[in-house]
């Protein structure tokens, strides 16, 4: 293993200007494959979801999935692309066992969508426009299991085993134009772009875009040119960078590596590189030579796709509000900062908070519970917020119980705990655990009298005007009522009984 020379990120940027190209593959959430009716369900046993078409057996004929095409058009429209009036599929020929057909059905010079853009918002609120070159339809490959080598890697494996369940699942490949002018923020732009694209894909409902499950995968192409020059340098292509954090790290690493090579008088080789999650580095894959000649030609087994303008306009009308626009609208409605909104987004809480508000909660309470107690519990359990066993409606009910004074925050946390533990709806937990605040004024008055009697010294202080000392008595009452009193009301009663103005 050779070590890789790097220069510091600052030094790299002092001399060079990064240019990036990002290629993102999205696996669509269709029920069936792109060109045959085999199921796309994950987790099936090996080779149980194949047919003569996706196995490339003689005599079989592909037919394109209508939802696959519709999803591609929706993605194109949401990316402000032009939609082709007429386009074809093409065969991308190569010999590799991940495709039993010996070619991948893709699109070559006639993508279904082209010339668009996606505005992404950086951490500080700045908007950066990423231009889209194209979005085209293709199919996923099978899964290889490499046997006999070290740690399952292809290098040194004695043979490989292929499962073709994934072969043929619809993919949309989205390619940016060269991203220029991002400067030192290039890695951040790359991450923000992929994050925004993921939100967009999810909002369109065409895929769950779960990067950790490989439903969305990113290739980071990067080159450097000396500051002040126009001509692009030679690029490297880092393949399969599969988390948002990794996208940022891969771009950063490649900037530092390229700068080290270039500043020592070397040249960058055009090659694919592999990203390593454990240390954020990349290592050389295959060098691109003339062996990469896919001999594309129009797929004779599929007829052209010609989306009518009426259909395209109908789909355009049905597009949801773009995620960035929606987030900004919500941010203003909720009155939170850019930073807080980013945290809410990162926590996966936007839709949960919206649903909680829709169920009747006010924005501040909905946000407080999801980003506080529930985020803490999700974190403890190592799961997503959405995976918690509590619904937005239940959270809204907890908010309502607090708002009407039936629960205080401490009791509300216990109610949430009960709901999460499967004790039923909030009202059932309140009843089951006997959690309602003591609102019986008589009982509360007695508890307050007892607290005053037991803490005569403190009571005197309060009488002499030290209102702040009331906290100690409130604490005593809360303790006596096992937390089931409304603290604000207790404080009022104490001051009232001691004849002091609050």
């Amino acid at each position: 293993m050779t070590t890789i020379d790097l220069v510091s990120y600052e030094d790299a940027l002092a001399s060079y200007d990064p240019v990036m190209g990002l290629e993102v593959h999205v696996e669509l959430g269709t029920r069936t494959k792109m060109f045959c009716g085999c199921s796309t369900e994950l987790g099936a046993e090996p080779n149980s979801q194949t047919c003569p078409t996706c196995l490339g057996l003689p005599g079989s004929l592909p037919v394109v999935n209508a939802i696959g095409v519709e999803s591609a058009v929706k993605i194109g429209l949401a990316l402000h692309c032009e939609i082709a009036e007429w386009c074809r599929f093409a065969r991308k020929n190569y010999f590799y066992p991940d495709m039993p057909k010996n070619f991948q059905t893709s699109q070559y010079d006639e993508p279904i969508a082209f010339n668009g853009y996606l505005d992404v918002q950086l951490e500080d609120g700045e908007i950066f426009r990423v231009e889209i070159e194209r979005a085209h339809m293709e199919e996923d490959t099978g899964k290889s299991l490499h046997v006999g080598g070290a740690t399952g890697r292809i290098h040194g494996a004695s043979h490989s085993l292929l499962d073709y369940n994934r072969a043929g699942i619809p993919l949309i490949e989205i390619v940016t134009k060269p991203i220029e002018g991002a400067g030192e923020r290039a890695p951040e732009v790359a991450k923000a772009y992929v994050a925004e694209l993921r939100e967009l894909i999810k909002a369109l409902g065409v895929s769950e875009a779960r990067m950790e499950q490989g439903q969305m995968r990113c290739d980071v192409n990067l080159s450097l040119r000396p500051n002040g020059t126009e001509k692009f340098g030679t690029r490297s292509e880092t393949k399969n960078v599969n988390s948002l954090r990794s996208v940022e790290r891969a771009a950063r690493f490649e900037i530092q590596r390229h700068a080290a090579v270039l500043s020592s008088g070397g040249t960058i080789v055009q090659e694919t590189r592999h990203f390593h999650e454990e240390d954020g580095s990349t290592t050389a894959g295959r060098i691109k030579d003339n062996a990469e000649d896919y001999r594309y030609f129009p797929e004779p087994d599929l007829v052209p796709v010609a989306p009518s303008r009426e259909w395209v306009e109908e789909l355009r009308k049905g597009l949801p509000e773009l995620p960035r626009v929606r987030r900004n609208r919500l941010r203003e409605e909720w009155g939170v900062s850019e930073h807080d909104m980013q945290s809410i987004l990162n926590a996966g809480a936007v839709d949960l908070i919206v649903a909680t508000i829709d169920a009747g909660a006010d924005a501040a309470s909905a946000r407080k519970w999801w980003m506080g107690e529930l985020a803490r519990r999700a974190n403890e359990a190592g799961t997503d917020l959405a995976a918690l066993e509590i619904t937005p409606e239940q959270v809204a009910r907890v908010c309502a119980l607090v708002a009407e004074g039936s629960l205080n925050d401490k009791l509300a946390r216990q109610v949430i705990e009960g709901v999460l533990a499967g004790e039923g709806d909030p009202d059932a937990v309140v009843a089951g655990r006997g959690l309602a605040v003591v609102s019986d004024e008589g009982a509360l008055g007695t508890a307050v009298d007892e607290a005053i009697a037991a803490n005569a010294g403190i009571a005197d202080k309060i009488r002499s005007g030290k209102v702040a000392a009331a906290g100690a008595l409130v604490g005593a009452v809360m303790k006596a009522t096992r937390g089931q009193a409304d603290a604000a009301r207790v404080r009022e009663l104490i001051l009232e009984k001691l004849g002091v103005e609050g």
Binding site: T32, E45, P97
Partner: protein, 98 residues
Amino acid sequence: MPGITREEVAHLARLARLELKDEELDHFATQLDDIIGAVARVSDVADEDVPPTSHPLPLTNVMRSDDVRPSLTPQEALSGAPAQEQQRFKVPQILGED
């Protein structure tokens, strides 16, 4: 006249993982050149107003609904495989050592 050179045939053979001897390259280069020459005559007839055809039928937008159809059983899928292991297609080594 578009034709095919011996170098191009050698390149295609490499892409197709075919090992051709020198005399085979000569042989196929000549044959393929003849075939391409014959097919190229179509261009003589087709005027500029005739677009290249990739499909003989004047059809577009033939699509299927996104409904699952039965797949082959794994046993059926693997029945033509020269070798199998763990219910998967077994293929020879893809890459050697690093």
